[in-house]
Subunit: 598 residues, 2 copies
Amino acid sequence: MPEYKAPLRDMKFVMQELLDCETHYQKLGYEDASIDMIDAITEEAAKLAEQVFAPINQIGDEQGCTWTDGVVTTPDGFKDAYQQYVQGGWPTLSSPVEFGGQGLPSSLSVAISELMIGANHSLAMYPGLSHGASATIEAHGTDEQKQRYLPKLVEGSWMGTMCLTEPHCGTDLGMLRSKAEPNEDGSYSITGTKIFISAGDHDLSENIIHIVIARIPGSPNGTKGISLFAVPKFSINGDGSVGDRNGVHCGSIEHKMGINGNATCVINFDNAKGYLLGEVNRGLNCMFTFMNAARIGVANEGVSAAEAAFQGALAYAKDRLQMRSLSGPKNPDGPADPIIVHPDVRRMLLTQKSIAEGGRTLLAYLAQLVDYGHSDADEATKQIAETKLALLTPIAKAFLSELGFEATSHGVQVFGGHGFIKEWGMEQFMRDTKISCIYEGTTGIQALDLLGRKVLGTRGEIIKPFSAEVGQFCADSMAMPEMGQFVQPLMSYSKEWGELIEAIGKKAMANPDEVGGASVDFLMFSGYLTLGYFWAKSAKLALEKLAAGTEEKSFYEAKVKTAQFYFQRMLPRAKGHAACLINGVDSMMALESEDFIF
Amino acid sequence: MPEYKAPLRDMKFVMQELLDCETHYQKLGYEDASIDMIDAITEEAAKLAEQVFAPINQIGDEQGCTWTDGVVTTPDGFKDAYQQYVQGGWPTLSSPVEFGGQGLPSSLSVAISELMIGANHSLAMYPGLSHGASATIEAHGTDEQKQRYLPKLVEGSWMGTMCLTEPHCGTDLGMLRSKAEPNEDGSYSITGTKIFISAGDHDLSENIIHIVIARIPGSPNGTKGISLFAVPKFSINGDGSVGDRNGVHCGSIEHKMGINGNATCVINFDNAKGYLLGEVNRGLNCMFTFMNAARIGVANEGVSAAEAAFQGALAYAKDRLQMRSLSGPKNPDGPADPIIVHPDVRRMLLTQKSIAEGGRTLLAYLAQLVDYGHSDADEATKQIAETKLALLTPIAKAFLSELGFEATSHGVQVFGGHGFIKEWGMEQFMRDTKISCIYEGTTGIQALDLLGRKVLGTRGEIIKPFSAEVGQFCADSMAMPEMGQFVQPLMSYSKEWGELIEAIGKKAMANPDEVGGASVDFLMFSGYLTLGYFWAKSAKLALEKLAAGTEEKSFYEAKVKTAQFYFQRMLPRAKGHAACLINGVDSMMALESEDFIF
């Protein structure tokens, strides 16, 4: 199992140096979020991730969760690790002070999450989902509901889930069958079966608050008739203590490709008492609070996986001696050179590194945009942040999960045959990360959201604030001669982005299927461009630091060199996507369903 | 678990219609290989694959192999299935008549193998390796050795392995430590540890003949001091019967990401009696007989996996109802449309289909080239076939395993969350197929072999016969107006291929690392181009059949449409690879090893 080291230096670069989080936090009124405080918090989190979460990652995979007599048990060590997480106050970090939280910015939680996920994807999912449940209640619950649930959820003694999927509907939630019948006391009786419920049942917490979508009899069909409910595993007494078991039971747990340490449950609701969150029939809208946060969480999984796989592959590449460098021995006294001398091994390592670091930057940027929503910033600022967030969330979710998965695959390849062996831990990263391309909306669904609903749905308006930012950056950077290598391609790909949107938009007017035909290639193009912007920004800052003189010359030079790798060897992949998508959908739609195979 | 159906119609198209195997076989003197015979054989093989191999594929994954008290046991049903394989005479198919074989062309075995691998990758590996061992003894053994081993190997009562890798060397076999000390009776005492030995020990056969590389004391260091040996698990008595246990023992089996039904063994040789195959110190050269065949076998795994994942995904895509088509309901009476109406689902299915069918064609073509080597064809014909084979083997191995893996990943995505659940079988295809990108030389190693040793090592000479064939095809097809859509891009990408070779060659003169820097992108470019040629050929034949009038209009139209998809949505990916590789290696080599991470 590769050792996990929290990438603290790079986090500092991204959050503090590049995105100047201190100023950002001060501006938004987070007085406590000073650099000293942030450093102290990330260093503590690093210890927990490295010393508590990481050592049980492989055990979690081997043992998986068990479901015996209706009771779900997590792997050895998970309960204790979660207790340490709670005792460290981590669930409270960015929760509201009035419910016992520390009131720190949510972007700080995103950064901390990367460490936990990188150390142990399965374990980190439990508090991750809990946090989403809290946020949903905070956003849509009544004061009384907030008082009832949030203090316990915030302190971590209760946890939460998100119950959407049913056997016959995942993407298409309008088809859901779970029903919620009104009781006389104002509560609802929830009945139905939910599947694929991550952290759906377990032994980590005293109670579990399920956030459930269901249909109230008489509501419209489709997505307009869905309401949202809080359904506790154990009912809650008047004094807030845990009472009798509610009609919520785990019907089984899934046997999966990966994330075996997380219990993926079938949850049966049998006349379970539930409490309406938000307005009747507005459940899916309320759920988007949860889903948008969850999508950023999944993007974080891509980054975390890339980082973890990179660390594992890098250590092996320095250690493993095999063949001589094509340009002459680099380890002449040894029996062979370390494989890191071979260009193709470096290609894989740098691909991982550029995904991890570039992805981390995109994510930190997104997380800052989320901060605005929780702040007193003026409406115009909030609006711009929201527009950028709406654009970049599906890109981050799908692009970073796909590239994170690619990074884990390189991790296996760098290890050669050993990568395929469980003991080494590299294949677990692959198996765990594949889910990130699927849950919270597959890559295909994110791509439709991006291109259909958002880009074409606003006639391209949605890209303007972000495009303007990129354009401004290019204009501001042109004067620096060393920036030409980044600014020129960035401008050229940005221009092509706009042209592609126009071209697809025109085609889509004649045939709506053109949207689906172009969507994933368009998303990937957008992702490469977006990461290009953040790599160019990183390079610029690094160049400035180098020009000003620094004691960390190697660090900043590495940033510039990785940016160069990204621009030379990663960004041009976008050309392949553009060349494919521009050919349109006709060749996809020509075959009749029955003629796919003979 | 998806049902496996042998793709008999497409095999017929590829082998009989497109590559006219009957004429090919007649020309090479395989009188028995008539169309009727081929049909009868493939139909029988289909039954075995569908009814015997496929049903135990998932069981093999779940149970895996066990190693208890030094004894390796295969999963339930494997022994019986292998017995049926033997009783059906399958091991004998393309083996020499003088040793009990049926003397049919080896290309027929390749086609049959696809069915077995597609049905059960792990199980098919056992006879696959045996076949490689037989071929090696046939090519390099003495008459006495052939008499001793081949009849039993050919009939399948004994099986074989390939023992190359040691803990400290995989790619770099020159470092191997296993030693072979001469005995007075002309045999050798083999001592050393081999790892990652597929089918290294098991309960399927009476004896196992290990084909082992080791160093005879006093031999040169490196690859020039490696000799090849046959080392039986049980010694062989004078009468050919199985005698005492030789000093060969399985030290453990690996726990792996996939192919769990195949025993991947640590094999310890302790003064095991071995018999020299071929000349002293020429072992690695002899081993290439095995390795080249094995690489084609691995390419076949890519094709098989693509086919199996395609079949699974297609069935699900027709069945699963979710969302409405963007261009209006296609299943208005149902609650939603089958997901095959959605363009992005079709993109994934057609990607799988174009990999499976295009890959099958490339493989059948390669297999015919191998036939020439076993034939009395004139030297010039053989030479051309060998040159094409040398060029296309690394392309087929790496490109088809990478794309086969991609196809399995699409299989998971089409299933959404269900794809991640073991029960559905899609994730097993992914886990099983990842090994194909690694063993028998990773993608990176194939790429170096292609670009460094073969293309640049011959100053581009090696591509000429294949390029000439492609050029001739284009010239012959230009007159057909419907062929312009294929011929134009094929010519353009072919031209770019030559230009890329020239550009890399120039750079490599100044810096040998440029070869490694360009290699994988070059291989992928070459793969897309190569498959483009076979798709264009397929389209041409289909167009001709349609023009001539046919009762299978839908089948041939599907060929043309899939070719169109390939040319419009797959082939342009090559542009991304070209754009990346042309930027050279500098950005890969700039970082010092110690500066990859801080």
